[in-house]
Symmetry: C2
Subunit: 263 residues, 2 copies
């Protein structure tokens, strides 16, 4: 089905989701963002109307996507209380109970991916988790998502928030470990590019044999000599020293857990 | 130059390094390991003599590689005190001062990569850091390494240990973040395969725009609502809750540091 769709929010999620919807045959009619520049950039990209004022909202859009941070969602779902189409948020952690006082139908479409403006993402590979205020709404959102990816799954808020928590570990936290590695080399005047083959192999290996089986290093082999040397090297960075200590402890503990995948 | 080379140690490093040396024209004449099975497996792979007894050491090998854990190195460098060739260790953290009492020439060849038996590694892409007990030895080891990779750099022990510390963050710690993501999904009966596009994009993006610029998520955008929700979800796993809290703190702190690459 082809729908007339508006977007509130013109950030990273909208930047990737709206063009994917347009490409799948949906009609994007409007982009609204607090930032006039962001609204204009995405509006121009989609050749549609754009505004930085929510009172400009085109009320007869059949669907309205809210691609804004969670704290803004709470405000916006009240601002649009006289809207009568279907409202879809894209948050990993937002509870549908927040919509309880609203008269419009609503649902969620959560893409499990990290988005950055300027990066090209193959949206057909992105898993998408949907829910709806009633079964027919969930089916409708599912149909929309299936326009751009084959990986669409209905999932309740209760389960979706675990997916989101896992994504924080898989993306935000793993990326920060790379940031710290780059920082250490930069501080020593060494070239972070040297880390690239290691980083490539780290993730290729984890995806092939599972991260549980791919774990190497001083923590997993109980190499106390090396661990002590590393902790000494971090003496003047007490935060990072404590973080090193705690991750090392957790890697060791994980060996004794029964639920580690791949072991 | 072609040398006759022995290996003490038949683990992950030897499994990848010895065949790379053989392919580059070096002659591997012997593999010794405490494990007779490991010695045999690698010996068979290289079509050379193998033993599980250090007294079988072929003393006229021109070079002896020690590819054993650091704690075993200390013992072995004494066991081979009547050897008169060149001894090369492959440790990231071992100090050349440990060789002070020995009469043989010695050096280090540290490949910056994570090795797992059964994985194919393109050794020509691996950066290798070398040092020697005297300049001529360093040059000799450099020549040997250049047989299989173009990325060979002379580096002192003092600097090499920072490289090794960075590698622990880039590989061991980032991999553990993936392990935790997989574990969360498994515990909820969800399919860890859903994380694969996210993991691919995480590392592709970090390598292209640097991890400093690639950081996303609740910590970097100061999304206290989501952070609090996640901490609540981890209440019955206090270790992981504390680790989540500390990494989140470090990501926020990193914003205020001046040495973060890519910002």
């Amino acid at each position: 089905m082809r729908y007339r769709i508006g977007f509130i929010g013109a950030g990273k999620v909208a930047w990737h989701l709206a063009p994917a919807l347009a490409k799948s045959g949906q009609e994007i009619i409007q982009v609204i963002s607090r930032s006039a520049l962001s609204a204009q950039k995405l509006g121009d990209r989609l050749s549609c109307q754009h505004s930085n004022n929510i009172t400009d909202l085109i009320k007869d859009a059949e669907i309205l996507f809210l691609t804004v941070p969670d704290h803004s969602l709470i405000e916006i779902i009240n601002d649009i209380s006289d809207y009568r189409g279907l409202v879809i948020h894209t948050s990993g952690t937002f509870s549908p109970l927040r919509f309880a006082c609203q008269k419009y139908k609503h649902g969620g479409l959560y893409p499990l991916q990290t988005f950055t403006i300027g990066r090209t993402i193959d949206m057909s590979t992105v898993p998408v988790f949907v829910e709806g205020s009633e079964p027919a709404v969930a089916r409708m959102i599912q149909g929309i998502a299936e326009g751009f990816t084959s990986k669409v799954y209905e999932m309740s808020f209760e389960e979706r928030r675990w997916m989101h928590l896992a994504a924080v570990w898989a993306n935000n936290f793993s990326n920060f470990m790379l940031t710290e590695a780059y920082r250490i080399l930069k501080l020593r005047g060494q070239d972070p590019v040297w880390l690239e083959p290691l980083i490539r192999e780290t993730f290729d290996k984890a995806l092939v044999i599972t991260p549980g089986r791919a774990q190497t290093g001083p923590a997993i082999r109980n190499d106390d000599i090396t661990i002590r040397k590393h902790l000494d090297m971090l003496t003047d960075q007490p935060d990072m020293q404590e973080l090193y200590r705690m991750i090392t402890h957790s890697i060791r503990e994980s060996e004794t857990k029964t639920n580690i995948p791949g072991t």
